[in-house]
Amino acid sequence: MNRKHWLVLLCMGIFITACKKDNPLKQEIEQFLGFHKPDNFPDPTYHFATNPVTKAGFELGRALFYEPRLSRNNTISCGSCHIQSSAFTQHGHDVSHGIDDRLGTRNSPPIMNLAWNKAFMWGGGVYDLDLQPVTPITAHEEMDESLENVYSKLRDMPKYQQLFRSAFGSAEINTAVFMKALSQFMVMCISSNSRYDKIMRKEAGASFTSAELNGYHLFKEKCASCHAEPLFTDGAFRNNGLGISPVNDLGLYTATLIETDKYKFKVPSLRNLTYTGPYMHDGRFLSLPGVLEHYNSEVQPTPNLDPLLRQNGRVGIPLSGDDQKNLLAFLKTLDDEEFIKNISLSEQ
């Protein structure tokens, strides 16, 4: 045992004494130790070297995430469209619903496992989590505010002066520290405690039912090339054959102007689907059976359709009724109730 281990033990000891009663001990330790990679996950892509997660930074980021002053009229916070109980999405809304009840054109994606994300937004264009919040804050139909105005509103509040000082050593509020704090909160929104994860980590008592196991085999055969384990996305942009919508959202093309990027969207994770409906970049499917039926019979050969969806002379992925039932059973094992109930991620 080296010094570090002793230190951790000491901290655990302090916490056990401190929150003997009902505070979930694990969360407190995680918070204190900063970012911790789950055992069954790969190394993260986020640049922790330039922005290590600290307790004070995380707490500041959490306060900012739930701060309605980030919007023009102080009504909308990040948490308004990224609701924890819906795995940080806006449940029941096909497209997100922002300031003055303005509607966007896309479904709000989950704030989940972002430390492993290489690109952000359904249509890409943002490649560093630290720069991502610029988009929703300034977008007309989301928060419709300027960054400078946000900073000046926060500067007037002793609460933030204190939070910024304890997180970054200075009460000064600027783009770098503001964005870093938000990133520190967002990278801590880790979903890794679904039944699937516990089974993969061979934790005691965790196992698949036979339907779930059949579903898992089917998943590996028919879905895993895009929805790669354990994050259940390969992070790529692909056209999954959705019919072209009336708004003709061109997806990744908008950010790259490359013809072969038209109609490509980021492959979403399959974690927490129970909480995150409706589905797809524009929330067009209200239920998971609707999604599976899309792959079975509704895939359209639009420009740049992913080659994986055009095999053996047909488009789509054939899925019998039984296949669909088993897949749905397996997908349920990806629900992570601890994640959506983790109080350290909630508004305090």
């Binding site: 943002v126 720069l131 988009t135 300034t138 300027s146 783009t175 102007l257 490359i258």
Partner: protein, 283 residues
């Protein structure tokens, strides 16, 4: 009376002395080029519009482009970066990146000077980037300070950053022209506004449009820059925004009233390098 005359005489003599000192500077030899021996240099970006001076909101006396379209200007902003100077002997010095980003704003005369420090020497050539280089466009948030702060200039009002594309707008030029239609091909709000937001640094993960432009100007004809510690050498450039319309790829406002992140922006960007010409140097 005598004392006054004396005063005048002394003043004249002093003046002559000063002049002779000033003149003698012109003939002093170029100092040895030493990278550590820095002295001030400024590059002045003096905006003009064809044969006229630049003014914003000039709706009373509009400008006329090569196609005969009348227009007024409401905003002009652009990034200048990566300033480099070269001597006749071919020795060049690139200003440290952290102090080499400038945003020139037409409405704010104070922004027209890019002030840098370069080694003492006689420079015959000036090179700079119009826009923000791709390296800086992909840098971490800590490096995006000053004019490169995504918060700078607000959002709609004067913002030079595209949040959705994590990139800077290199050149932003807006105004009004009665030739603009009120339909979707023009300005559906009826304000008859044109907007040219030119950016595109080449992409993060796959090559995309690149509108970063490097401009090199020969200073020998209109006056080389003699940079010395005891004075302020100023390379005075004229920046003719009429060239946006009348450049190598001339176009009509009526046909392209809005150019932002699109293939066509590369054609407009090709006109931008022609805006810069060296008028004279104040040494």
């Amino acid at each position: 009376m005598k004392t006054i005359l004396n005063h005048i005489t002394y003043s004249l003599m002093l003046g002559a002395l000063l002049l002779s000192t000033a003149c003698s500077k012109k003939s002093d030899p170029a100092p040895e080029f030493q990278e550590q021996n820095l002295a001030p240099l400024s590059v002045e970006f003096d905006n003009i519009v064809g044969d006229r001076t630049f003014s914003v909101n000039n709706t009373g006396s509009p400008y006329t482009n090569g196609a005969g379209e009348k227009f007024s200007i409401s905003m002009l902003q652009y990034f200048i970066s990566n300033i480099k100077v070269t001597t006749a002997e071919g020795k060049s010095y690139t200003v440290n990146q952290d102090s080499s980003y400038f945003m020139i704003s037409g409405a704010d005369k104070a922004t027209r000077f890019a002030k840098v420090n370069v080694p003492e020497g006689d420079y015959t050539s000036l090179t700079f980037t119009m826009g923000v280089d791709s390296l800086r466009s992909t840098m971490p948030i800590d490096k995006r300070t000053g004019v490169l702060d995504p918060a700078a200039g607000g959002h709609d009002s004067g913002g030079m950053y595209w949040g959705w594309n994590s990139g800077y707008i290199f050149f932003r030029f807006e105004g009004n022209s009665s030739v603009i239609s009120d339909d979707a091909n023009g300005d559906p709000t009826g304000k008859k506004q044109f907007k040219y937001h030119i950016g595109g640094f080449g992409g993060y993960s796959a090559p995309t449009i690149n509108n970063i432009k490097t401009v090199t100007l020969d200073l020998r004809t209109a006056g080389i820059a003699r940079v010395r510690k005891d004075r302020q050498s100023n390379i005075h450039l004229f920046v003719d925004v009429m060239k946006v319309f009348n450049g190598t790829n001339s176009f009509r406002i009526a046909e392209h009233p809005n150019v932002m992140f699109s293939e066509y922006s590369t054609k407009v960007a090709n006109n931008l390098t022609g805006m810069f010409r060296h008028d004279h140097t104040e040494n």
